[in-house]
Symmetry: C2
Subunit: 371 residues, 2 copies
């Protein structure tokens, strides 16, 4: 069991819908509210349970949309009111994590925050805790720290982090500097990265002193920083918060934290990385969900859905069933079938990435009622 | 336009469910009640419309199950009460067609009947009529006459009829004797048949004097014949029909008319054939339905369903939609998706024949509620 880290605060941005998992994930039922692993809990709840031993139940904040407040509080009965940070509309990760940093920094200028996505899957609790403990040690030295996952295959679905020299920090034997971030590569490049061993998957985890993160944001995105600081100043005053959100939030720049903070910090030698030796997946599409549930067994059919009444014959891939209909899959290989009350998707594991395009087409063609 | 043939009576056996088209076709919505061609009419109605110019509206009988009476009368508002022959349970085609022959023979000993399936698709009205007119001419000479379809491809899904010598009948220049019936062949054999030109597809159409058909039945299946004659004697008496059906019908032998009448008649040189130069398909499974709707264009997606809200991207095959759900097919080739309120089937054109096995499995596993 991990000991609670006293100056640590966990932040869970719970914002993305998970468009590539449509029609399972949608605006009113985003990915983080689903149980995609059969654990019996939502991904959000699993994330909370993973962080509670490190931060304690009173020091985990969730940044989410107003529409999801009730669902989030339902999943996390232990969350304090003051730890639910509501966005009036989505403004991407720099605004979401930056808001949490600004609020928590106001409450405690020395706080170290760690941001962890609400909808990733992690297996291996102890090694996860060990990675976070190391990251916090390095963050205390003024670094922004990310946790990178040593690749186990030449994935073209993730971004990569290139490690540079090791840095010597007590209690963080695996710490290294980050040379640069790399966008999703092609397959040949991914194979080189796998062989090279100095490339890690970018799992979107950031640990830093709130003050350091805000400094970096101020240097790179001064307007965004100013807006967030102004918002944070009003936040803990009941009367001021609402008007401040309405005035400031819609004007904040939409930018990913990778671009607003992490990449510039890497260039300045201020970004460190700890390798995370746990199983990690962002479950970005039905291909990765299939792999996750079948444990990579190619001929298996993964079935997700408690009410599923299924009859299959020589089928493989994934079936997600949210209705009580009888479903029969006959002779279909690597198939993806997602059966919900008002929408049905049939595709293949190979084409799983194209589901996002479907969602965009539905928007354009006026069928947004099922998004 | 054809002239009505005065001594001709059309018989439409409307019995089969069409299990290979599950979950579109089912016990309470058999294939013949569906519009599979986009004509705006059920296959049953199309069959009626094809026969009416030849027989006249008062001389078309339908043999169907009690459960389908209302649906049949709904589709065929012009049908006379006396022309609806209700089976208390299915007993296969020899009993169904034999019953019609026995009843109509009692009403008119000289009648020539022609039996045509309720759920086949035919294109080419004039050539159809010309084939029936020739068949009636040959039937007047005491033959049992079938209409065979010249193959256009080496089909392994149909039975075949091997032609023998021509026979000389006035008004029937294409008449020939039948040497034998052949069960569904393998592909190599089907290719030989296609090249040979003396093999025709067995389209299950029989034209004969009712008296001749009954004689043949008496010779081959005397018990079945006796039961049908007894039933026919009671049929047109309101008080007698019900008890006679209850007593006799359930004990009648289940046998196809091909075995009970046509094959033995062929051996005795009493079976003739007229080639039918029209497009014909029994639409036995989703592969043939796909071909029918796409006119064989391999890269097309056939969509059947007035309420379909469909979004596809590089998909081919067939989608049958009976719900108002949004359906998205992405990158799936030669797919078969059948979306109904209580059951969903996903298979491929290649595996279409295996759908019947699904239906049997559903029976066995206690999910007969969706059959």
């Amino acid at each position: 069991m991990a000991h609670v880290i006293p100056d640590f605060y966990a932040v869970i941005p719970a914002g993305g819908i998970g468009s590539r998992l449509w029609p399972l994930s949608r605006a009113d039922a985003p990915k983080f509210l689903h149980d995609l692993t059969g654990s019996g809990h939502s991904l959000l709840r699993d994330t909370w349970d993973r962080l509670e031993p490190l931060a304690g139940p009173d020091r985990i904040a969730v940044v989410t949309g107003r529409a999801h407040r009730a669902a989030v509080e339902g999943e996390l009965p232990g969350i304090a009111d003051a730890n639910v940070f509501l966005e009036s509309e989505p403004r991407e990760s720099a605004a979401a994590i930056g808001l949490a940093a600004a609020i928590l920094h106001r409450r405690d200028p020395e706080v170290i925050i760690g941001s962890f996505s609400a909808d990733h899957v992690i297996r291996g609790t102890q090694v996860f805790e060990w990675a976070v403990q190391q990251a916090v040690q390095v963050a205390r030295q003024g670094y922004i720290v990310t946790i990178g996952i040593p690749p186990t295959e030449p994935s073209v679905g993730f971004g990569y982090i290139k490690k540079a020299d090791e840095i010597v920090v007590d209690g963080a034997p695996e710490a290294a500097l980050v040379e640069r971030f790399v966008e999703k590569p092609d397959l040949d490049t991914a194979k080189e990265y796998l062989a090279d061993r100095s490339y890690l998957w970018n799992a979107g985890m950031f640990i830093a002193k709130a003050s350091v993160l805000l400094e970096e944001l101020a240097a790179n995105e001064p307007e965004l920083h100013a807006g967030l600081v102004e918002l944070a100043a009003a936040w803990d005053d009941r009367d001021l918060r609402g008007p401040a959100v309405d005035r400031i939030w819609p004007r904040l720049k939409k930018i990913a934290i990778d671009y607003a903070v992490a990449e510039p910090a890497a260039e300045r030698g201020r970004l460190a990385v700890i390798p995370g030796h746990f199983d990690w997946d962002d479950v970005g599409d039905f291909a990765s969900l299939t792999k996750l549930i079948t444990h990579g067994r190619k001929n298996d059919l993964a079935v997700l859905g408690p009410k599923a009444r299924v009859l299959t014959d020589a089928a493989s891939g994934i079936l997600v069933s949210q209705t009580s209909r009888v479903i029969s899959l006959v002779g279909v290989k690597d198939i993806v079938v997602v059966d919900t009350e008002d929408a049905l998707l049939v595709t293949t594991v190979e084409h799983a990435q194209r589901v996002k395009g479907v969602v965009e087409s539905l928007k354009v063609t006026g069928r947004g009622d099922v998004l």
